[in-house]
């Protein structure tokens, strides 16, 4: 089952991601490379809006694989994550020719793959073509539901009582993201490589802005990155995320602003910050320096 590795070395991962407009730092590229080599899932944690989900998407694009996404939410269960029997079809099968089949034949027949509805997890491992599986916001499911994931994460297989065990045809790259609203179970963490994606540093953020916002001047991007860094150092309820930085950059572009001065910064702060107390604090901090 061991397929040949997808990436030659870490630098390949990095340049590949860059081509997909995702600027990875050493840590990110290194962990993606390791995930491929060791055949292990990656658990990505970090503040909201730092490109956790985007990483999975970009890796899928880079490798030309299909992205299968399982969005987690409270109350997610087996029938929505793994598989479900197609009851209606089974009923039809039973009713269609009542006389011809014996019971055992019908029984064997209605629990065959034809009547199985695959859900994202099963689909990811039965797929013939390469896939990237993204399990998004895994911290939203209950602790008990996490157990559903364990078999597939460690052995890449799913056990269905009526059918037996289905093993993966190829090992997919698996990404789990978490916003860290609760502590994930030890069992889950143990099976994964851990990657913490934090707010990017100054240079990387500037590069991201330059990359994602067309026609922005180097000077403006630099100024944006620096202001955002200063704001993040304040003690805020919610620090601005990368996506908010990008929104802000786009807004400034639309307004035709070339260099940010205090007034403009204050007037557009609400794009970066979403709480009134935060906005007031940032406005105060940015204007009074001495």
């Amino acid at each position: 089952m061991r397929v040949k590795p997808r990436f030659k070395d870490i630098a390949t991962v990095r340049s590949g991601l860059k081509k997909e407009n995702y600027l990875a730092d050493d840590g990110i590229a290194g962990v993606v490379y390791l995930a491929d080599r060791l055949g292990k899932p990656v658990l990505i944690e970090g503040p909201a809006g730092t490109g956790k989900t985007q990483l999975a998407k970009s890796v899928a694009d880079m490798t030309g694989a299909r992205l299968i996404r399982l969005q987690c939410y409270e109350g997610l269960d087996e029938s929505k994550a793994l598989y479900e029997w197609n009851y209606k079809k089974q009923l039809l099968r039973i009713q269609s020719d009542k006389k011809s089949d014996s019971w055992s034949e019908v029984h064997d027949d209605i629990f065959s793959e034809e009547f199985l509805l695959t859900r994202p997890l099963l689909e990811a491992i039965t797929s013939e073509e390469p896939v990237v599986l993204l399990i998004d916001e895994v911290d939203r499911v209950e602790v008990e539901t996490e157990a559903l994931l364990l078999e597939i994460l460690s052995d890449y297989q799913v056990s269905i009582p009526e059918l037996g065990t289905i093993t993966a045809k190829q090992i997919p790259l698996v990404f789990l993201t978490s916003n860290n609203t609760r502590e994930l179970s030890e069992a889950l963490k143990r099976r994964c490589l851990y990657l913490h994606v934090d707010y990017p540093d100054l240079e990387r953020e500037k590069e991201i802005v330059l990359n994602k916002v067309p026609d922005i001047s180097d000077n403006l991007a630099d100024q944006i990155a620096r202001i955002v860094r200063s704001i993040r150092q304040l003690d805020l309820k919610k620090a601005p995320s990368v996506s908010e930085t990008l929104d802000w950059a786009r807004t400034l572009m639309l307004l035709g602003i070339e260099t940010i001065d205090e007034k403009e910064a204050k007037e557009t702060l609400h794009i970066l910050l979403k709480y009134q107390t935060d906005i007031a604090k940032a406005a105060k901090e940015l204007s009074v320096t001495k």
Partner: protein, 482 residues
């Protein structure tokens, strides 16, 4: 030392520092090391981090230990500077000459060793000004060599050397100097926004330089004493294990940072607990009503789910010197999850007592409210030494009538009463009226009831006295409370 030995020593040290490294994770790390070339330090570090550290709060500890065990062995860290690439060396020499040219005009040669401390400071300022990384690193090395006064075998901690080095470089005034120089250089008046940005930039550079110095000191110490001994002296508690009463300023910062995510998680857990509580008894009326739609067959049994009421909380905290930090953290903690309680009221005292609920009501910013508590609350009655007895008496007189069967009273403090009258009957009265009365004590249990601590006397009248020395203990207490 072969990598394998180094690895196992490294992992033992991680476990000693309190990181939960399991056997499988250990094996994963070994696998990972196989596919990552050890020469690539950064990749190597991230590979070990990804396999061994599954909690971001532990990353700092991991980084320190990693540095001690691995980073310091690379060729670029040779202590003698023979291995320097030529052009870099030449460039630096030029810079040195430049500085010297401005100075007394001594002849060049002899590298950095011939520089006076003032010249080094001047060079550092130029490096910080231009953000020249290589120069900063070289200067960090040089200044440690010059100023730290390290002697082999001397049993002194790294912080001592750090202090000595930084004192000689006068880093405290460096920021101001940089700002002044910057203002001179730019011709037009800087707007306050620009100035602020410049300041942040310089601050981060200075911080970076400090870290260079620190790691240089560490590297020398490791070379002197060996990795294992060094790791032991560097061992720092994880944020959740830092003791409130003895936290340094840095640790306070990291505690504050750890507090918010912790409360968020706790709140999520408590909400969930409340919603998915145990199944209640059969709700007969509801079941019959729903059975009508099935023709009178009770096909869909309905249950009565218990709705535990949210407790009302009264926090009474001693904020005198030694336990102030603990009181602050507990107040922050309680207010961060205040929607888990139906009502929170808070009181602070030293020998007088004052209600501070209003500070938290008037602002959304808990940090600011805490600051106001420290500065504005009227807590001194006679001499500003803790007097639990008097404070409790006044509290009971003024607010005793508000304590009812829904109220949980939290008393915070070390119960070091300076030999005043205990007035423990107040606590007894409180307990009669309240749902629960708990005492949280930030001192280690072995210190209780020693000296002027009378926690036992008060404790006898409460529903429980809990040791609450660190965030971990505080969290688990609050979880059981709500």
């Amino acid at each position: 030392m072969p990598v394998l030995d180094l690895m196992s020593g490294f992992i033992v040290e991680l476990r000693n520092a309190g990181l939960p490294v399991s056997l499988t994770e250990n094996l994963d790390a070994m696998e990972a090391v196989k596919v990552i070339p050890i020469e690539d330090r950064d990749a190597f570090k991230y590979a070990l981090g990804a396999t061994l550290v599954k909690n971001n709060a532990h990353w700092r500890v991991f980084e320190t230990i990693f540095e001690v065990y691995f980073s310091l062995r690379g060729p670029e860290y040779e202590i003698t500077q023979d291995g320097q690439p030529d052009d870099f060396w030449r460039e630096m020499q030029e810079q040195i000459d430049q500085v010297k040219g401005q100075g007394e005009g001594k002849g060049s040669g002899g590298g950095m060793d011939s520089l006076t401390p003032e010249e080094i400071a001047a060079m550092l300022m130029r490096a910080l000004m231009s953000g020249d990384q290589a120069m900063m690193r070289a200067l960090a090395k040089q200044s440690v060599q010059r100023f730290a006064g390290m002697e082999p075998g001397r049993p002194v901690g790294g912080t001592y050397y750090l202090y000595r080095t930084l004192r000689n470089l006068d880093l405290d005034n460096m920021l101001q100097k940089l700002m002044d120089a910057n203002r001179e250089m730019s011709n037009q008046q800087l707007s306050s926004l620009e100035e602020r940005l410049e300041k942040d930039e310089f601050e981060s550079r200075i911080e970076q330089f400090k870290q260079e110095v620190e790691s240089e000191i560490r590297r020398r110490l490791v070379a002197d004493r060996g990795a294992e001994a060094m790791a032991k002296t560097l061992r720092k508690p994880l944020p959740e294990d830092v003791e409130f009463m003895h936290a340094s300023r840095d640790e306070m910062q990291s505690l504050k940072k750890a507090l918010y995510p912790l409360t968020r998680k706790l709140a999520a857990r408590l909400t969930r607990k409340r919603r998915h509580g145990r199944k209640g008894p059969l709700d007969f009326r509801n079941t019959v009503r729903h059975s009508l739609s099935y023709g009178g067959v009770p096909a869909d049994p309905k249950f009565r789910y218990p709705r535990p009421s949210k407790p009302e909380l009264m926090v009474v905290a001693d904020i005198s010197g030694s336990v102030a930090a603990f009181a602050r953290f507990t107040l922050m903690f309680v207010y961060a999850i205040q929607n888990q309680f139906s009502k929170v009221r808070s009181f602070v005292f030293i020998d007088g007592i004052d209600e501070v609920t209003k500070f938290f009501k008037s602002t959304e910013d808990i940090g600011e409210a805490i600051n106001r508590v420290n500065t504005e609350a009227d807590v001194v009655w006679v001499d500003g030494h803790s007097d639990y007895g008097h404070a409790f008496e006044v509290f009971f007189e003024r607010h005793g009538k508000d304590i009812n069967s829904k109220t949980t009273v939290l008393l915070l403090g070390d119960a070091r009463n300076n030999y005043h009258a205990a007035q423990s009957w107040v606590v007894k009265e409180m307990r009669k009226r309240a749902r629960h009365v708990y005492w949280l004590n930030p001192e280690p249990k072995s210190y209780w009831n020693t000296g002027d601590s009378i926690v036992g006397e008060y404790g006898a009248h409460t529903d429980g006295v809990f040791e609450c020395r660190n965030l971990r203990q505080l969290e688990s207490f609050v979880e059981n409370l709500a």
